[in-house]
Symmetry: C5
């Protein structure tokens, strides 16, 4: 449940813009800067947050990436440097936000969810990625260093001379970051798709109690995914249609492409949800079916042996005057009767398709 | 049920604006006034409602808080002083309203629900909070004194010299009050989240009849929560987008933040609802599963002992001519036959995975 | 079912505006007129429909109420006097309409449903109320005389000197009539709420076959209520927002109040519906649970006695050579074995929590 | 299923506007013309399609009704005469269209579904009616001659001197035709309402396997009805709001009336659907209930007789030393014990309310 | 599952516009060109992609069809020739797109799904068809050559002198291609309709475990179909309403016709879905019903033979003093008692309608 809802109760009563980190605390923050434009690329790690001031007013595109959010003073410095609203800083720290976009005029603030599949716990894990797009800079904030390499392909492309990204502005960089985040969703979907296949296979061959648990867990993953992805649709849409001067027409075309991918992700999630729902119906039906077959076995056995046992009981009575008992052929005749009763029962059940 | 619907039947036929208190009657009303602006803060409790007139036309921000609504004359006096429409007074008293916002030009009337979790009865309790936002005043009305301390953090912030709230207008005060009300929802959600976890745990380990009752109660809590929170979304949204001059652009940014929180609350409620629905399915399936296993036990027992009992019955018959009975090895042979029938049955059921 | 759908098949092929009364035929129509304005009130019963002409062009507000719709000539006379469209007359007579509002320029035609709870048949009963709002008159048409007293509180208020209603126009009168009709919904909701409570109580203590029937009936009542109330929302909304000159700004504020009540009614109905749906799930689960407990009893009994009976059967066999039978302690030993088998079974089932 | 979907596969690859009749082929086409205006009415049957040309440019209103669509050449002639688009002709022939309206400027093309209840097969049957409304003509196309008399009341009204229809234009005639088609829906709804009542009665008294089949069939009828009626709402709505000069303001008021009827039909269908869904729940519950009662009978019988049979088995054992067997009162005492065990079981089950 | 979701994980991190073919690799690409206008038609197969340049600026309509997408260089050449955006080329290759339309000003890019029914695997198969509509050319891209003949009827029409298509522009050609793709949906729907009929038949006569599987599979086909068809509605709609100069008014009328067909397809899918859902309910009910009847057989047998066996057991006891045993008529009397007990049980069950 903690995955479905991270509490905010410790923040109650604080004035707005109070910087409290709501995610889990991990290792130290890491600030990397890539500054590029045309032929030139400069890449370095900052040791102090104060160093960001030198990148503020450059004509080139500056990408500042912060891994790890628990050092609030780092965030405050960056915020001061680029003139971010305190509520934006608060939102960056509060890692339980749903995807959203907010246009503050001089910059656009974007919240995304980075998804990955935790194989150990068999669950989808999300990490908040915040982007701030300015006229000539992009700030990106990630919760955790460990997954920091998600943006590596972008870095690689920037380093490559003559790549398209080098010729475009900050908005194209922001688009590239969003694109790679959303592309990663497909990996998660593939893993989920395989789990669905596995459980479906199990359903047909040997539905067990764990199958039910598996379906329930899948359902919860879907809920979790939906919550992260649905609002994204609107986010990308409003970015694409944005009247902000920070997003150029050229980049808008690319955003439309990201929008298509988002729709595709949502479509797949919905299809998965429907499939998982259908699996529950199948499970319930197969449980009923098995109950049916168990009951048939019981009924067949009881229906055959109850009359026979009764017959044996009759000739086990101790009445003095039971002429059949004295007959020489009494015993074989009774056995024959029992045998034919049993056989006819079997024939009857076969006809009823119970056997 | 009384929680789902407080009756209004005693009001039928009264002219509109008739002041009838619909909540439960409790202790005496308490009026506290905080008047602040820049460096100066004045705080006092009023003994008579008439004293409010002196606060009407001050340039500073005046916050008048009324705890307890059953003294209708107090409300009438305040209403007269600040020129409130009779329908507003009627709505303040009728504590079964859903959240709403109404713009009367000179002031904005806002109805909120303050939620808390009653641990004694294991249910969510709501209390109506009415706000009236004027150009230089905020009136707040609470049903009950006991929970009056919800606003204490705000009071504390106002008392603090140099706090942001001291530099802002009445609209920021109204925002702060709304913010703290909605922040409290997260506490309720956390408690509900824990109950869901508990019941889910129970479902897996030992589903009982009370589990079902627990799920049903959770569902009802969700219904109750939804009813209180859903309309809030629209309330905050229309406040943020309001064209009223009472809400400044600066505050609108903060309202957008509250809006995000509201969306987060709604999202969580919906996720909880879906989870609880899924739990019902799991419960039903596990009941079916247990029925299945009970039936298997019965069938196994019956299938093993019925043929054996029949066999014993056959040799308990009193026919004169039953050659087997005379054989020296008759008894051990029959025992052996019985034993092997029983064993082969067991093997069969093991193969069918019933054991 | 007749409550869900009153047929219109007898009207097929008639030209539009053909006046056919579709409700049940009851006692004679009764026309009462209240004419008021400022200090003066005049109240009388008309004997002939023709008398209405004298009220047509008065500067005061005239309220003409007709109880009973089967005298078509009365309706025609009033229609001619106030210039009503034939389709309006047809709609007044056809009492199976859903709530609606139609603006004919010179007058506004409003259809409402008056609801009451019929304790004898345990069902919600609806009666159509048609209002025609002109610049200085309100016509109200009720199906039946018996419930005519619903409007009595309004009459009382008009008769009271100095009441607000005396100072307002015809639109305020129409509002008052709508308000009292909708206020009555709360009485019906209270009764339904109590029935829901009763059935919920029953569900927990002793769910029976009638409980199911009760739930089914409640569901049907909800369907019926919804059908009557949902369209009302739009009716009141479009009246409030109406650009017609017949509805003044002052009255629009009051209509917003009625709108809130309507929303409250709809909210409550939806909550009731969800609660009733949940009850069905509970019922089904409790039926399954009881089946489970029945089967456990059967299984316990069978599992204990089948092996014992088999054992007794073995020693009831008539083999000549059964050494145990000859032993002095054979019988007590067998009894002891039986006893210990039975006890160990009981222990086993207790451990499995079946007992 | 064929009722849910009439195939179009034989049309694939044909150029648009290819005239292929998709309905079933029946008897010969019949063209009737009624030309009226003011005092004059002229009515005749055409033998050749070419004769329609004389009616093209008359100042009076001309209604041409075609029964039977399989004579494509008739359709082509009429289409050429009144300047219909080839796609309209194609649509008239393709009788599997859903209701729609299309404004071609000079004429409006309307597709409706005529519904009737086929008592033989217990199903709702639909027939496509196409209307073409021009400035001074109305063309109506019906699939089948047999149901051609549906429009007879309209013909009767036209023939009547001084009837309203005689004084109105072609749009009023089109409205009248639509009105009578929709009025016929109420007859179908009544029949369905009666079937629902019957099945509900059956559910309470004696739910059988056919009841389930009946519910399933009803559901399918509802699906079929919905498909035919839902789009109608939009059709009438857009006609009423149409800015086409072919629909006068006067007629628009009448169309609003038809719109109300359509809403009423849709409301009723939705209510029926909900009722039928509820019936399935009831059915399932009652099946579970009956299973419960069957199992109770079994359990009671088994629980009473198993211990007794065991007791009898014990005293049927052949041990040499069984002192009870020798007692004079042994037999009566055992009978007494058996009797009291049986009675106490019965008392126990009565207390548990199983009997 | 692979049909529900084709992975994209291999594309992660690539810059946008990277051409990677996501479909399955098959035979070689085939480029056919048809160039027509008025009386003249020219048709040929291109050997090299470079040859397309000669068709770029002709006044006639040029239709270039590419079968097979794995030769990326072919695509690049065509893209360069007609000035297609790199994202369009990427989308053509990525065959897991949902239907969409994008207006690039100089050309419109349309993605469709070609559906066919794979009888071998009993599933619906989809193939992506991409269309690019320019002012005087249409490019069509198909995944696979094998189904290339779908467009043959169009080719045939173009070859026919005097056909309508020869007189119209490129937009009409694009419409024709879309029309034939959508017409093919009806064939798939017919096959599915037949499968639904088959399963429904099975449900009534002999519901088995495979029936459930069949229903589940049908449900999945429906999900798949929906995913392919729903977005199409919007595609056609926005094309019809498009303000692009590439789509003429004349063709828009034809697009409205295609739109109607799409609605019809969607309607049918929804009806199928509802029908299939209903079938699952029927299946579950019939499983319950059969359980009921199995249990009745068991209960009847047990209820008849348990008392009888008990009776036989009583007279099999070995008490010395059992007077009945000595009676001459003891045995026949007991048999008679047993017989009448059995008969009365049977009568009882018949009365209860269990037999």
């Amino acid at each position: 449940m903690s995955r479905l809802f991270k509490g905010r109760s410790d923040r109650i009563g604080l004035p707005p813009g109070s910087l409290v980190h709501v995610g889990e605390k991990r290792s130290e923050a890491e600030i990397t800067v890539i500054d590029y434009g045309g032929a030139q690329v400069q890449e370095r790690k900052l040791k102090k947050a104060e160093e960001v001031y030198q990148y503020r007013d450059r004509p080139t595109v500056t990408w500042i990436n912060v891994d790890g959010l628990h050092q609030i003073e780092v965030l405050e410095e960056i915020g001061k440097c680029f003139g971010l609203h305190r509520l934006v800083l608060e939102d960056i720290l509060n890692t339980d936000h749903r995807p959203k976009v907010e246009d503050f005029g001089k910059y656009i603030y974007i919240v995304l969810k980075m998804l990955s599949y935790d194989n150990a716990n068999n669950e989808v894990v999300s990490e908040q990625v915040s982007l701030v797009l300015g006229s000539n800079f992009v700030l990106s904030f990630q919760e955790d260093i460990t997954s920091g390499d998600v943006f590596n392909p972008i870095r690689e492309r920037i380093r490559t001379d003559g790549s398209q990204i080098r010729t475009m502005g900050a908005d194209y960089l922001a688009y590239s970051l969003m694109d790679i985040v959303i592309d990663n969703y497909f990996v998660v979907l593939e893993t989920l798709g395989e789990r669905i296949d596995d459980i479906e296979e199990e359903l047909v061959t040997n539905p067990a109690s764990q199958t039910l648990q598996g379906i329930h867990n899948l359902k919860k993953e879907m809920l979790y995914l939906r919550k992260s992805v649905w609002p994204l649709r609107e986010v990308i849409y409003s970015l694409e249609r944005s009247e902000s001067q920070l997003v150029t027409k050229t980049t808008a075309v690319y955003l439309r492409d990201v929008y298509d991918h988002t729709i595709q992700v949502i479509d797949t999630i919905e299809t998965f949800r429907d499939t998982v729902s259908g699996m529950l119906d199948i499970y319930l039906s197969s449980v009923s079916n098995r109950l049916n077959s168990v009951m048939k076995v019981l009924t067949v056995i009881a229906t055959i042996f109850m009359p026979l046992t009764f017959l044996a009981g009759v000739y086990g009575m101790n009445f003095r005057h039971m002429p059949e008992l004295e007959w020489t052929w009494g015993y074989p005749v009774v056995l024959l009767v029992m045998f034919s009763v049993g056989i006819s029962m079997l024939v009857y059940f076969r006809k009823k398709k119970w056997l």
